[in-house]
């Protein structure tokens, strides 16, 4: 049986990858996918910890997180599509209407 | 009666905003007069006792006010000068509704500053008075007022926010129950009396006390003002409305000396004692430096600003010397310089009304407006401490007291008296005497109200220059009391 540490480490790697993706990728879709990756890393960690503590609460939490992810997908795609149909790009750098 | 005196002007201000235009003047003048009357009544009754109420109980913030001693004098003189200023504003400014309202609103702030015996309350009034001053500048100011305005506000807030921190610190480190200066008893629900200790009953330990004092000092030094925090002053006065009305209020707003006296001295005695030489040096330098700068000014308002700054140097010198005589003198000076400095600002206003500029080099006004020249001259004499006028008493006793503490610094400061004579007389001479430039418009002399506006302060200046007793009766015990508190604190923390 693999130890909790291994799972957590794996989830950490996934999370780091997602973070890097968010920071470096320039396409809205890719950033968004990275976010999803982070969410799933969180799910993995939750399940691992739930097993370590031997209770089910963590797994129900995973369910909820999955739902949240789905909702985010729905809304995020809507926004991205809306923008894409206005201007043929989803590149974050091209969104320069609002100057910081 | 006291609360009425404090808040009457604010009510009047709100009233002025609502009543129809033609009554505004009457309302304003009446209320200022009433305030002054109240002040005098309190003076005759020898001051009021302390009045304490909870304001924000959980935080130990109280509404505790008292008008006696020094505070009373300041309050009365503030009321008086506000009255004068309002008079002149009514005469000079077309449709003065807003200006009057602001003056009144500011008067409340000032009276509150002098009356409050609670640090947070003091802070509140202190900031409250700032807002009308800013508004006056914004609405009636000159072309480059925004710069002056931002400068003024930034300096003030910079000081006062640090003061806020040290206020928080004083209560926190001294462990007092309230922010009130003097403790008081509250009747609990079960009827028993419980004593809530005030700040003066605790002592802030060193070295924290030094830091807190510095925070407090910053705010006060801005408001004194003390070099190098005086930069806002000349611009403020220069950009204000040419009729010196807002300047009068600004002069009254220079409460730094008072704040140091009433709060810093009892709360931070060790710190003040430690910093005494530095501060005295700074004060003396301020006085001399201001006088020197004033010498080279060609704008009456800047000139007066620097003159006032130089006076403040004296005041600071007196306070920092921690010597009874000097402090009494400082308070005396601080109180009465309002009279003649304010009056001088007003006279500048009249001058500007007549010749359309505040330049110090229009010659020969004297030839056509003799009375105005004379009164201005007299006021100048008061300002440069000619014996027999109020200014002399203050400056002399400051020097006298300070000399016993720091002879050399005092000697340097003493030079200011000469410098003052120099700048004052030069400016006066180039304006009023000398040859009248050809083709200049004829200048009317004083008439009616203006006599009153310049004459009354002068009269008072002369009166208190000759017969100081009534003022001293109020000042001396207060000073002794404060010094006593300071001494106890010193004793409590050797």
């Amino acid at each position: 049986m693999v130890g909790t540490g291994a799972y957590v480490a794996l989830s950490g790697v996934l999370f780091a990858l997602g973070m890097i993706g968010v920071l470096t990728r320039r396409t809205a879709i890719m950033v968004f996918l990275s976010v999803e990756l982070m969410l799933n890393a969180a799910n993995l960690a939750l399940v691992a910890f739930a097993r370590a503590w031997g209770d089910l609460v963590g797994q129900t939490a995973v369910f909820i997180v999955m739902t949240l992810a789905a909702a985010e997908v729905a809304i995020g795609l809507a926004i991205i599509v809306a923008i894409f149909r206005k201007r043929e790009t989803t590149n974050v750098d091209d969104l320069a209407q609002l100057k910081g | 009666m006291m609360h009425f005196m404090i808040f009457l002007p604010l009510l009047a201000a709100l009233l002025v905003m609502v009543v129809p235009n033609k009554w505004r003047e009457e309302v304003a003048i009446g209320s200022t007069l009433l305030t002054l009357g109240l002040g005098l009544a309190i003076w005759l009754s020898g001051g009021t006792g302390a009045y304490v109420r909870d304001w924000v109980a959980p935080l130990g913030i109280t509404y505790s006010v008292q008008l006696n001693g020094v505070s009373l004098i300041f309050a009365v003189i503030t009321a008086f000068m506000t009255f004068i200023a309002a008079l002149y504003a009514v005469k000079r400014i077309p449709n003065p509704g807003t200006m009057l309202g602001l003056i009144l609103a500011m008067e409340t702030g000032l009276l509150g500053i002098f009356a409050s015996r609670d640090l947070v309350l003091f802070y509140v009034f202190f900031e409250w008075a700032l807002i009308p001053a800013l508004m006056m500048l914004a609405i009636y100011g000159g072309p480059s007022r925004m710069k002056a305005l931002v400068k003024f506000a930034a300096f003030t807030l910079f000081g006062s926010l640090l003061m806020l921190l040290s206020i928080i610190g004083v209560k926190y480190y001294s462990g007092a129950d309230t922010f009130a200066l003097y403790g008081f008893d509250v009747r609990l629900a079960d009827g028993t009396l419980r004593h809530l200790s005030g700040l003066t009953e605790r002592v802030v330990p060193q070295p924290v006390q030094n830091w807190l004092f510095l925070g407090f000092l910053l705010a006060m030094a801005v408001k004194l003002p003390l070099w190098p925090l005086h930069a806002w002053l000349p611009d403020f006065h220069e950009q204000n409305h040419p009729s010196g009305v807002p300047d009068v209020m600004g002069t009254l707003y220079k409460v730094g000396g008072y704040g140091l006296f009433i709060f810093a001295m009892p709360l931070f005695p060790n710190a003040m004692h430690d910093f005494r030489p530095v501060l005295m040096g700074l004060a003396a330098f301020t006085a001399l430096y201001a006088a020197w700068i004033a010498f080279s000014q060609q704008n009456w308002k800047r000139l007066l600003a620097y003159a006032g700054l130089s006076h403040m140097g004296f005041v600071a010198l007196g306070i920092f010397s921690l010597n009874e005589t000097a402090i009494i003198g400082a308070m005396y000076l601080l109180a009465f310089q309002n009279l003649y400095t304010g009056a001088l600002f007003l006279s500048v206003g009249m001058l500007q009304e007549r010749i359309g500029s505040v330049d110090t080099r229009v010659g020969g006004v004297m030839t056509q407006a003799g009375a105005m020249g004379g009164l201005t001259m007299a006021l100048w004499f008061a300002s440069i401490a000619v014996p027999g006028l109020a200014g002399f008493i203050g400056e002399f006793s400051v020097l006298l007291g300070a000399y016993q503490v720091q002879p050399w610094i005092t000697a340097v400061a003493a030079l200011t008296v000469i410098a003052a004579a120099a700048y004052a007389l030069t400016a006066f001479q180039t304006t009023f005497w000398q040859a009248r430039p050809l083709g200049a418009v004829a200048t009317r002399d004083l008439h009616g109200l203006e006599w009153f506006v310049l004459g009354l302060p002068l009269a008072l200046a002369i009166f208190f220059g000759v017969y100081t007793l009534p003022a001293l009766n109020l000042i001396q015990p207060a000073v002794q009391n404060v010094l006593g508190l300071a001494a106890r604190a010193l004793g409590g923390n050797p």
Binding site: M38, W53, D55, A78, I83, L95, L98 | A57
Partner: protein
């Protein structure tokens, strides 16, 4: 295994249910009636929710400290007070939207629906007794917020929506990961449970062997590390939500890009709710967890400097308000550094005043702007002579934002400073004081410009003054003045230390 029902009790949820009802009605009924009716109905629902949180009505929740669903939902006084602030801000934004939404081309029932859903989420955060509930509330709020920011069919708002969405979702991802770690470290999602376990983790001597000793031991070596990591991750996630530097980049773009009545909502209600979450988690669950204080103080310092500096250079008033929102985040977060009994009341008080102040400011922008890009500061010159009432109101609110007494903003700042000062963060308070001098300057510039007479023709929308907006402004200004003169009105409710002890989970 046996299935035991949680203690089901919908009474503590009553305010939330009111709001939810409004949301559903505006979702479904939007097809049958006009948007105006829907909005009025929602306002009524919000008022009901607000009343139900007081003790005025018979069924009021005040002082009853109810909890339900195994402590998942807790209607203690803290929740009620913050909920009151949320409801107030929401009412303000709805009123303003009545006037300005049709100009912003967002005047359809979905607007109300989304707003109400967002409010539901906000309240859920405030009422949460449990990380999961908090998370759900947060997500409902954020998702609805993304939609709101994108609702207007314009490039500006879509862009702001996308930025908000990308950064916001990244923030929630981090937050969720942090929650996972917290669960891993403490084995509980409940605030009280976490607080208790944190104590055990800190001094393992008190670990009772009976309670799943095996797992505790299994996790013991990295327990502390996981705990700290979780706390910091959650901190980062929340920093996204409340816009603490360096996670604040989305804020100015979103607030200035979204329609103004929505910026009002986002910058007040949403921020309040996020702070409620922070209060619950950091002052409640993690109150004696290590390491996050020291990180938070640096975040605050950065926020204060960046927010105020950036605001100083703005030329558009709406954008200035956005940056000032960041700056105020810094001041607000100072309260979290203190002990709950000191910081909590300060935070609650400051949140209320902040909502009122910036609510009024945004309301006036919304009323007077020509288009959704807001007012440029130059255009405000001489406003006093065109819209005197608005000018005075705005001046009062700006003075209050700058922290000038006798307005409420001063006491808010004072309390925040005191809270941080008394917990040994003097340097931070000094920094805050200096930065708030800067803030004074940039608040002062528009405030004073309004009173300077000028001859140029008006550049703002002429017909801005409408009854609902006036009501909002009046409400805000009265609140600011009253709370400034008599802080006890609101502060005394919060000052009772008992409720904060409960917050810290000790009362459980």
């Amino acid at each position: 295994m046996t299935y035991t029902l949680p203690d089901v009790n919908f009474l503590p949820l009553m305010p939330i249910l009111f709001v939810l009802l409004g949301a559903i009605v505006s979702t479904v009924g939007g097809f049958n009636t006009s948007r105006r009716n829907v909005t009025w109905f929602n306002i009524a629902m919000l008022v009901l929710a607000g009343l139900s949180m007081t003790s005025l009505l018979g069924f009021g929740l005040w002082n009853r400290d109810l909890s339900a669903f195994n402590g998942g939902v807790r209607a203690d006084n803290v929740a009620l007070m913050i909920g009151g602030v949320i409801v107030l801000g929401s009412i303000m934004s709805l009123l303003v939207s009545l006037d300005t939404a049709w100009r912003a081309r967002v005047s359809f029932p979905e607007f109300d629906a989304m707003l109400m859903y967002a409010i539901t989420g906000c309240l859920l955060i405030a009422f949460s007794g449990d990380l999961i509930v908090m998370l759900i509330g947060l997500e409902i709020m954020s998702l609805a917020g993304y939609v709101l920011a994108t609702l207007q069919d314009s490039r500006r708002s879509e862009e702001s929506g996308l930025k908000y969405f990308l950064l916001g979702s990244a923030g929630s991802a981090i937050l969720i990961y942090g929650i996972a770690f917290l669960y891993g470290a403490t084995g509980s999602f409940n605030y009280a449970g976490i607080a208790g376990r944190v104590a055990e983790v800190l001094n393992p001597a008190t670990v009772n062997a009976a309670a799943d000793a095996a797992t505790t031991v299994a996790l013991a070596p990295n327990n502390m590390g996981i705990l700290v990591a979780g706390a910091l991750l959650i901190l980062a996630g929340f920093s996204f939500k409340v816009a603490l530097a360096p996670f604040h980049q989305w804020t100015p773009d979103v607030y200035s890009g979204a329609p103004t009545s929505i910026s009002l909502f986002l910058s007040t209600v949403v921020k309040v709710a996020a702070f409620a979450g922070m209060l619950r988690v950091f002052s409640g669950a993690l109150v004696d967890a290590p390491a996050w204080h020291s990180v938070l103080q640096w975040l605050i310092a950065a926020t204060l400097i960046i927010g105020n500096m950036a605001a100083y250079f703005q030329t558009n008033f709406k954008r200035l308000m956005a940056y000032s929102a960041i700056a105020h985040t810094g001041f607000l977060a100072m309260c979290l550094l203190a002990q709950p009994s000191a910081g909590g009341p300060a935070l609650v008080y400051y949140l209320l005043t902040y909502t009122l102040m910036s609510g009024v400011a945004f309301a006036i922008i919304a009323a007077l702007q020509r288009n959704e890009s807001g007012l440029s500061i130059g255009d405000m010159r001489g406003l006093f002579y065109r819209h005197p009432a608005y000018a005075v109101a705005l001046a009062i609110c700006l003075a209050s934002l700058a922290g000038l007494p006798p307005f409420a903003g001063f006491f808010g700042k004072y309390l925040a400073f005191q809270a941080a000062f008394q917990n040994g963060y003097q340097w931070l308070t000094v920094l805050a004081a200096i930065t708030s001098v800067i803030s004074l300057v940039y608040y002062l510039r528009p405030a004073m410009l309004m009173f300077m007479p000028d001859r140029t023709p008006a550049r703002e929308y002429a017909h801005g003054q409408r009854p609902p907006t006036n009501a909002t402004v009046l409400l805000g200004v009265l609140g600011v003045i009253l709370l400034g003169l008599i802080p006890s009105l609101w502060y005394n409710f919060a000052a009772n230390p008992g409720i904060w002890r409960l917050l810290a989970g000790i009362g459980q």
